[in-house]
Symmetry: D2
Subunit: 107 residues, 4 copies
C-alpha cells in the first residue's frame, strides 16, 4: 500500500500534530472515555428492558458525540498532515485520502 | 411528561418486546460490548499518536456499528411498542415520538 | 413483487393520505418547486464560476430542504398507510417497507 | 466578512478551478439538470397521489445524487482553492471555511 510511504513522508511534515499540546490529546481521550461509559450505559439500559425510545435517544447522543470527536480529528488532520503534504508537494495522495475519509463519514 | 402515561399504557401492549428472545437481547448487548472495545481501541490509537486517517477509519467503523444497533432497536420499537400503541388507539403520541427519534438520527 | 398486492390492500386503508387536505399536498409541491428553482440556481452558479464554497453552501441548503420534504412525507406515510396496514393486520410488510425506506435515507 | 478578502486572494491562486476543463463543468451542470428533472418528477408523483414509499425512494435517489455533486465540488475546492491557499500561506481561513462546509453537510 502506498499509504505507508505517505505516512513515512508525512512523519517529517506532520509536526503540528506532534506538537498538539498534550492537553488537546487528553481532551480527545477524555471525550472517548465518556463515550465508552455511555456505550456501557446503553448495554445496561437494554439489559434492564428500558423503554426503547429512551435507549434510542441515548444511542443518538453517543452517535453525535462520536461524530464530534471525528470532526475534531479531521480538522487536526487537515491542519497538520494534509497541510504538510500540500506544502511538501504530496498533495495528490493526501487529498485523495482526505476525500475518502470524508466520504466514509457521510455514509 | 405524557411519556410516562404512554409508557404505562404501552407496557400492556409491548409484549412483543418483552418476549424478544433472550438471545436477541444478548445479541444487541454483545454488539455494544464490541463497540465499547472499539472505542477503547481508539483511545489507545490517539494515545499512541497513530496516523489520524487510521483513527478516523476506526471512528467511522464504530459510527456505522452504532447506527446499525440503533436501527435494530428502532425496528424492534416499531414492531413492538408502536404497533401495540396503534392497535390500542394511542397512535398519535407513539408516531410523534417515533418521528422525533428518526429525526434525531438523521442529524 | 408483493408490494403490488400490499398497495392494492392499502388503497382501501390509506384514506388518511387521500383525505390529506389539498393545501397540504400543495404545500409539499410548493416546497419542491422552490427546491427545483434552487437546483437551477446552482447550475447558474457553476456556469458563472462562482466561488465553490458559496455553491456548496447552496447545495447543502437544498439537501436540507429535500430531507425536510422527505421527512414530512415519511410522517404522512406512517400516519396513513402504515397505521392503516397495522390496523388491518398487514403490519409485517408495512413495517419492513418502512424500515427499508428509513435505512435508505440514513445512508 | 473576511470571506471577500479571502476570495480576492484566492482568485489569484484558484487557477486549477478556472482551468477545470469545460467538460468537467458541463458534467456537473448536466448532473444538476438531471436532478432538476427528478425534482419535477417528484412533484408530479405527489400531484398524482402516487404511493408514498415510491415517492420516498425517488426523494432518496435525488438526495444521493445531490450529495455526489456536492462531493465532487468539495473535492475540486480542496484540490483548487484550499491547496492554493495553503501554498500561498492563507491556510488558516481556507481550512476553517472547509471545515465549516463539511460540518454543514454532515448535518
Amino acid at each position: 500500500m502506498k499509504d505507508d510511504q505517505l505516512n513515512i513522508e508525512l512523519n517529517i511534515e506532520k509536526k503540528p500534530v506532534n506538537q498538539r499540546a498534550a492537553d488537546e490529546k487528553m481532551n480527545l481521550i477524555n471525550r472517548l472515555k465518556r463515550i465508552e461509559g455511555q456505550v456501557r450505559g446503553i448495554q445496561k439500559m437494554i439489559e434492564d428492558d428500558r423503554y426503547c425510545v429512551d435507549t434510542l435517544v441515548q444511542l443518538s447522543a453517543v452517535n453525535a458525540a462520536l461524530r464530534k470527536v471525528a470532526f475534531s480529528l479531521l480538522e487536526d488532520h487537515t491542519r497538520g498532515c494534509v497541510t504538510g503534504a500540500i506544502k511538501s508537494g504530496h498533495e495528490d495522495e493526501a487529498i485523495k485520502e482526505l476525500m475518502k475519509v470524508i466520504q466514509q463519514f457521510s455514509k
